[in-house]
């Protein structure tokens, strides 16, 4: 690996904090951690409310609930109860892909349904309009299930989306459930993930006990099929002989959710958005969960091996090994091609609640150095690992988010592993129901920054001059104004898939093209250099 001399991360941190008023600076300081020698000891403040007036990249509770978790499900018809904007902005903006079972199977993802609240409803209440809206949507599409999402004004005017859901459910004879995901709840979209998990668990999971055919059955949790990632993974699982029962919630369907409790394992991709579901399914049905990562070829290989070892069948393990060996050939070839052009270059990753961790693996594989990484809406356990959970303080903003009381299901709870099997997995270093977090995987003298502000981002660009910045569309154009490419890790800028082995190859190539295109040389305008030369002349 090429040696790169990096600036002192602690000094950079000081620079970032300089312009803030003292109080704000003190607050922000806790959200910026210099990754040190003993990574296990690094602590960071996260999941606290953004200071008013600081421009954040965070969205709202509703965005997390409707947009992230429920959005990728094609056949739950989703009605947004509120003024038009909230619905409009979340309409087909994420690039989740889906493949209905047949050309006429329902797919409501291209649609946006809203009650488009008017002043009359704000003053006199909107339940009547909501009921009629449900009826109209039902008449149009006859869906199996309808989800109702409340946006900010709804809770305040006293509309009860749950009551309306129950009533209409009885009347229409289909499953209708509400989400109290008003945007002001919690501190970011993260609150919405939790609410979405709760309601799906309460109203959908476990409705269909029909046994599932196939071997090695598991669910994939926290994979939203951006850019077709889930398709790549589905193929990989099928080829190795696994049975994927359901995905929460990329390329997913209502029926799959209903029977997901019949699986024997939950794989967790995005820990932040879906760990609640994994935990609740563990408690109620006895399904263990395993944190995996399918971003990065090596990580994919590791994850696939863990998965095979969990089921423990020797033949399965061999099939998986063979599969990995075959796929790795193409991966190595692509890696060897791009690595010389990328080695030692710096990247910054500020995105999401898991991607900033997952994508570091891909950069390592092509020799790039991630000097700073952080999340928009993660919690401390995503940074430092689940070990901090017990000591976690819950502030007023998060206390309002319901924690479901879940108990063993008296008839359907079934432990999936014997004591022996558990022991064996421990010996193999496979930890169930565990996540180590992002910081322990980062190198020392790098920065971990939570809920980075627009201002801090600009400062980092100036101080590190990275070859690449990874974030979302809100950051993209500002970064590019500085002559630095920005990869969107929410929507992949129309690219992808990046998961699995084929995805890794796509990503290597994409990063190579982005960094090494000639455009950046043009943006570093020639007159700047001239000026510098002139300045040099003047001083000599």
């Amino acid at each position: 690996m090429k040696k790169v001399n990096l600036p002192d991360a602690a000094k950079i941190k000081d620079e970032l904090l300089k312009t803030y008023p003292t109080k704000v600076g003190r607050k922000r300081s806790k959200h910026i951690t210099v990754v040190g020698e003993k990574k296990e000891d690094n602590s960071i403040q996260a999941n606290v409310r953004t200071v008013p007036g600081i421009i954040t990249q965070r969205g709202c509770c509703y965005a997390g609930c409707r947009g992230v978790v429920l959005g990728p499900t094609r056949d739950i018809l989703q009605i947004i109860h509120g003024p038009v904007g909230c619905a409009y902005y979340s309409w087909l903006t994420r690039r989740n892909q889906t493949r209905p079972e047949s050309p006429d199977a329902p797919n409501y993802m291209p649609y946006c349904f809203t009650t488009d609240m008017q002043e009359e409803q704000i003053v006199f209440g909107g339940e009547k309009k909501l009921k009629q809206a449900i009826q109209e949507a039902y008449d149009l599409f006859h869906p199996k299930a309808i989800g109702i999402f409340a946006t900010c004004p709804v809770g305040l005017i006293g509309d009860d989306v749950h009551q309306v859901s129950r009533e209409m459910s009885r009347e229409l004879g289909i499953n209708i459930f509400g989400f109290s995901c008003e945007g002001y709840k919690g501190v970011s979209q993260s609150a919405g993930h939790h609410i979405a998990n709760n309601q799906l668990f309460k109203h959908v999971v476990g409705r269909d006990d029909e046994p599932i055919a196939g071997k090695y059955k598991f669910n994939l949790l926290g994979e939203y099929n951006i850019g077709g990632d889930a398709f790549v993974l589905e193929e990989m699982f099928a080829e190795c002989g696994f049975t994927l029962v359901s995905t929460f919630s990329g390329n997913s369907s209502y029926d799959d959710f209903c029977k997901s409790h019949n699986a024997d394992l939950n794989l967790v991709m995005c820990h932040r958005s879906i760990n609640y579901m994994a935990e609740m399914m563990q408690t109620k049905f006895g399904i263990p969960w395993l944190k995996i990562n399918f971003i990065g070829a090596q990580e994919t290989a590791n994850s696939m091996r863990k998965l095979a070892n969990y089921f423990g069948d020797q033949q399965l393990i061999e099939t998986v090994d063979k599969y990995i060996a075959r796929e790795m050939q193409a991966v190595e070839k692509a890696r060897a091609e791009v690595r010389p052009r990328l080695e030692g270059k710096l990247a910054l990753l500020f995105v999401g609640g898991s991607r900033a961790h997952h994508y570091q693996e891909l950069f390592k594989e092509i020799g790039m150095k991630v000097v700073g990484a952080g999340y928009e809406f993660a919690h401390r356990d995503d940074y430092e690992g689940r070990k901090v959970l017990d000591g976690l303080e819950v502030d007023a903003d998060s206390r309002n988010i319901e924690e479901l009381k879940v108990a063993n299901d008296s008839t359907r709870y079934k432990p999936r592993l014997s004591a022996d099997q558990k022991k064996k997995l421990t010996q193999q270093g496979i930890k169930l129901n565990h996540y180590e977090g992002m910081i322990p995987t980062m190198e020392k003298n790098t920065l971990s920054i939570d809920d980075i502000s627009q201002y801090e981002q600009e400062k980092l660009l100036e101080l590190y001059k990275p070859a690449l910045f990874c974030a979302g569309i809100k950051e993209k154009y500002g970064v590019q104004k500085n002559g630095i490419p920005c990869k969107q890790l929410h929507s992949y800028d129309y690219g992808g898939p990046y998961a699995g082995f084929q995805g890794a190859i796509n990503f290597y190539r994409e990063i190579d093209r982005m960094i090494n295109t000639r455009i950046w040389k043009l943006i570093d305008a020639p007159w700047k250099e001239e000026e510098q030369i002139r300045a040099n002349f003047a001083t000599s």
Partner: protein
């Protein structure tokens, strides 16, 4: 003339809305003022969504702050949050102006923003406080155009004061593209006018790379100019929707006797002629030769391509002023706008289009307060040859196999939405070529041979 104006068949559920929310319009205007930063008073989600949405059209960094309500704020009111937001913005961004727009949430709880602002200003000792202009923009009452116009008005009311009369002119261009604004500037300069455009986001929404970090992007209407508005000779407003309205132009005329002129969006020969005649009146100059030539070329193109267009049918949808202007233009070139639809409920479109219908002797459907679900219901029967409107029509166009010519706002499935020129002879020329070529391309693709000559 027999006109069909319908209200929705499904009055409660909106399927695929054709309208954006009010504070978005406010943000657009504030982003067109030099040194200004918009602040949305409400939960952070609205600010984030609106930023995200504007960025996807303009492909530029766009900052919008939020006062970041918590659940407690919804109970105790938003004053504390608003003040802390203002303070933090001042120290971090040192803006010349902070534009505060409300959201559904702060409106629902009944926050009195103007009162909070008065208190804030009186409590601040610091002399270098920025201007703070506020506007009420609940989305359950109106839509983004209402927010857009209300914000312009708020700015004018805040800044305009009595001034000695000058010969200067203010142009309110409506919600047009940065390319349109640049074109309008060129045009007004050609007429030798000393003018101000409000809002002017030509640069803030479509600028070049940066030499260093810009807290607030360069460009925009200068505040010094806004304070001079009271002494201006004329105000020109674009958009039929402003006729009879208490708009910024109406205010300037009433309070400061600034002569007000209104023209629809200048799209097509006739509409542009009208706009140009206003410029002639205001400047006292005849149309410059170069513009006359531009007009000539456009007429020539009409003549060259009329046979490809005649009797073709189009669905036009989007913001009311844009739809009205496009319908006028289409009728002029022999295309029938079989359905003119807008999500706005203001009633303007109907009035304007009925006039057009009478003039042209054509009848067509007009729908206000519409959603795409409803457009789809009728478009099947209308069998249009193409659709003219924003990106949100794509799903429908795709399902029905109709080409979509992208105009207006938002365009987020193509690059360059900010550079689509719509206005004047030049903008019409570009639109015209795109429309004709869309039709020719469609015919070409469907022909079994694939001729390479027209």
């Amino acid at each position: 003339m027999e006109m069909k104006t319908n209200t929705k068949s499904k009055p409660n559920a909106v399927t695929n809305p054709c309208n954006l929310c009010t504070p978005l319009g406010a943000c657009l205007v504030f982003k067109g003022i030099k040194g200004a930063l918009p602040l949305l008073h409400g939960s952070q989600g609205c600010a984030t969504y609106i930023r995200r949405y504007l960025i996807s059209h303009y492909n530029e960094p766009i900052d919008i702050a939020s006062s970041n309500f918590t659940e407690r704020t919804t109970i105790f009111g938003g004053k504390k949050n608003l003040i802390s937001a203002l303070e933090n913005i001042c120290t971090q961004y040192t803006p010349e102006l902070i534009g505060v727009a409300t959201t559904c949430l702060s409106e629902t709880i009944g926050d009195d923003v103007p009162q909070y602002l008065r208190e804030f200003k009186s409590e601040q000792k610091s002399a270098c406080l920025p201007h703070i202009v506020s506007v009420s923009t609940p989305s359950y009452n109106g839509a983004y155009m209402e927010g857009f116009q209300a914000t312009i008005k708020s700015l004018v009311v805040y800044f305009a004061a009595s001034r000695p009369r000058t010969r200067r002119v203010v142009l309110f261009p409506n919600l047009v593209s940065p390319a349109d604004i640049r074109y309008l500037k060129e045009l007004l300069a050609d007429f030798g006018m000393n003018f101000v455009i409000l809002p002017d986001y030509a640069e803030t929404f479509d600028g070049g790379p940066w030499d260093g970090y810009q807290k607030i992007p360069q460009g925009g209407t200068r505040i010094a100019d806004l304070s001079e508005l009271g002494g201006f000779a004329s105000a020109i407003e674009l958009g039929h929707s402003l006729v009879g309205q208490e708009s910024a132009g109406a205010y300037l005329e009433r309070e400061f006797a600034v002569k007000r002129h209104i023209s629809g969006l200048p799209i097509g020969i006739k509409a542009t002629d009208k706009f140009i005649s206003i410029l002639e009146t205001v400047s006292g100059k005849k149309m410059p030769e170069e513009i006359r030539k531009e007009r000539g070329r456009l007429l020539d193109a009409y003549a060259d391509a009329h046979k490809y267009l005649f009797e073709k049918k189009a669905i036009v949808f989007g913001e009311a002023d844009m739809v009205a202007a496009m319908a006028g233009f289409l009728l002029e070139i022999g295309v029938i706008p079989v359905l003119c639809a807008t999500g706005s409920r203001s009633g303007i479109l109907k009035a304007e289009l009925e006039k057009l219908s009478c003039e042209s002797g054509r009848s067509f459907e007009i729908r206000e307060g519409v959603d795409f679900g409803e457009i789809e219901e009728i478009s099947g029967k209308l069998k249009p040859d193409f659709m003219l409107g924003n990106s949100k029509g794509y799903s429908l166009a795709r399902r029905q196999g109709i080409p979509l010519v992208r105009v207006g706002f938002p365009i987020h499935d193509r690059i360059g939405g900010q550079r689509v020129l719509h206005l004047g002879y030049r903008g019409t020329q570009q639109l015209f070529d795109r429309i004709v070529n869309t039709i020719i391309e469609n015919t070409q693709e469907q022909s079994s041979i694939g001729y390479t000559y027209m």
